[in-house]
Amino acid sequence: MNLLVDLFSIAAIGAGVFFFLAGTVGLLRFPDPLSRLHALTKADNLGLGLIVLGLLPRSESLLAALKLVAIWALVQLAGATAAQLVGRAVRRKGSAA
């Protein structure tokens, strides 16, 4: 049983790391701010989401698990709105911003 939980954690967290890597590659490769923003938000949502998923079965209590999910949800909200806000700022000033 323990082994199964470990395998699940390793798979989910490993996939999360992959999305973080993908996001960074996007940041490095994409030519303009708006597409870099796009790459960034993908890393945020999926990367952290999968890591939280992998850590969930390891949490000590139900409250701790709920907190993990709340953290992920808050980061979703922050990522989505911050991307909107920064994106608007970019558009307002043209590509130089």
């Binding site: 808050l74 909200l77 922050a78 709105t81 909107q84 806000l85 608007r88």
Partner: protein, 315 residues
């Protein structure tokens, strides 16, 4: 070398690199963002030093609230740096300064390396007396019971800082509200964020204050998160900054230190010592004081960030 050591070294290098960026970056805005990133990394370092209460403070104040203050300032100061700035020190003076600073850092590093492995510690004493305070978190006990005088005076410093900021106002604005009158329509995304975030944040802030009695957390951290929520609501223009001559505002600003001081005086009358709490009342008394401290912090930090009054007071 274990994985943990490798991680520690990597984290240390990253913190150092971001700090160096903050100092050497060309533009002020770039340096400021570097500082915000740095503050966040620092709370990771505090976790590695097993100082979770400090990490929480650093996350809420060092990174969050300071970020709003500095990024706002850097954005408003844009264009304020003149071209001649970089020449202000000659090359030789620069080199001399750098040498001096490296010496200071090396001396300090030497001290760090010479520290004994098991240093002097008050941990034992603070655990021995913990039961009398009724608390489970020794850091909160130090803040509100063992070294309460420190904490009370620190609240006074916060009030003084607000007085300092307010006194930067022009005479005719004294007592008015801080911040320029702005377009009435809020940025819709920001308004949405504030509407969703504020209720959740108030919940988390109160939670962190409440668990602070027994777990990492406390009045400072909880109050700082509440303060951040008021700031986001003001930034989204869902509410106006209050008039600085409002009685409730001034009362809330001083409530923390005032209640704290009153508790100290009451201690010297009823419990035989300034800031002494009778054991049967210790925990309720501490929570009572902390409640007002949370209120004061939640009001003080946004007022410090909002700046001096910039509008004439309404009568």
């Amino acid at each position: 070398m274990s994985v943990l050591q490798a991680l520690d070294i990597g984290l240390a290098l990253l913190v150092f690199a971001v700090a160096a960026w903050t100092i050497f970056a060309r533009g002020a805005f770039a340096a400021t963002v570097g500082y915000v990133v740095y503050g966040l990394l620092l709370s990771l370092v505090w976790i590695r030093l097993f100082a979770v209460d400090v990490a929480l403070t650093e996350a809420a104040i060092g990174s969050g609230v300071t970020g709003i203050l500095l990024i706002g300032a850097a954005a408003r100061l844009r264009g304020g740096e003149t071209a001649g700035d970089e020449r202000s020190l000659s090359g030789a003076a620069r080199l001399f300064t750098a040498g001096l600073c490296i010496l200071v850092a090396l001396a300090l590093a030497g001290v760090v390396l010479l520290l004994p492995d098991q240093g002097p510690s008050l941990a034992r004493q603070s655990m021995q007396n913990l039961a009398e305070t009724g608390l489970g978190n020794p850091v909160t006990a130090v803040l509100i019971a063992y070294r309460s005088f420190d904490t009370m005076l620190e609240k006074v410093v916060l009030v003084l800082a607000v007085v300092g900021v307010w006194s930067l106002a022009a005479d005719r604005y004294w007592g008015g509200a801080p911040g320029e009158a702005r377009a009435a329509r809020p940025e819709p995304t920001l308004a949405f964020l504030a509407q969703v975030l504020a209720p959740l944040g108030i919940l988390v802030g109160v939670h962190i204050f409440w668990v602070g009695a027994d777990e990492p957390g406390g009045a400072f951290q909880g109050g700082a998160i509440l303060a951040a929520m008021w700031m986001i609501v003001m930034m989204a223009r869902l509410t106006e900054a209050p008039q600085t001559n409002a009685f409730w505002l001034r009362l809330a600003l001083v409530a923390g230190p005032l209640v704290f001081l009153a508790a100290g005086v009451a201690g010297s009358i009823f419990a035989g010592g300034f800031f002494a709490y009778p054991p049967w009342l210790a925990k309720p008394a501490i929570l009572f004081i902390e409640t007002f401290m949370v209120l004061s912090i939640a009001v003080t930090l946004p007022m410090l960030v909002a700046g001096p009054p910039r509008r004439e007071p309404r009568q």
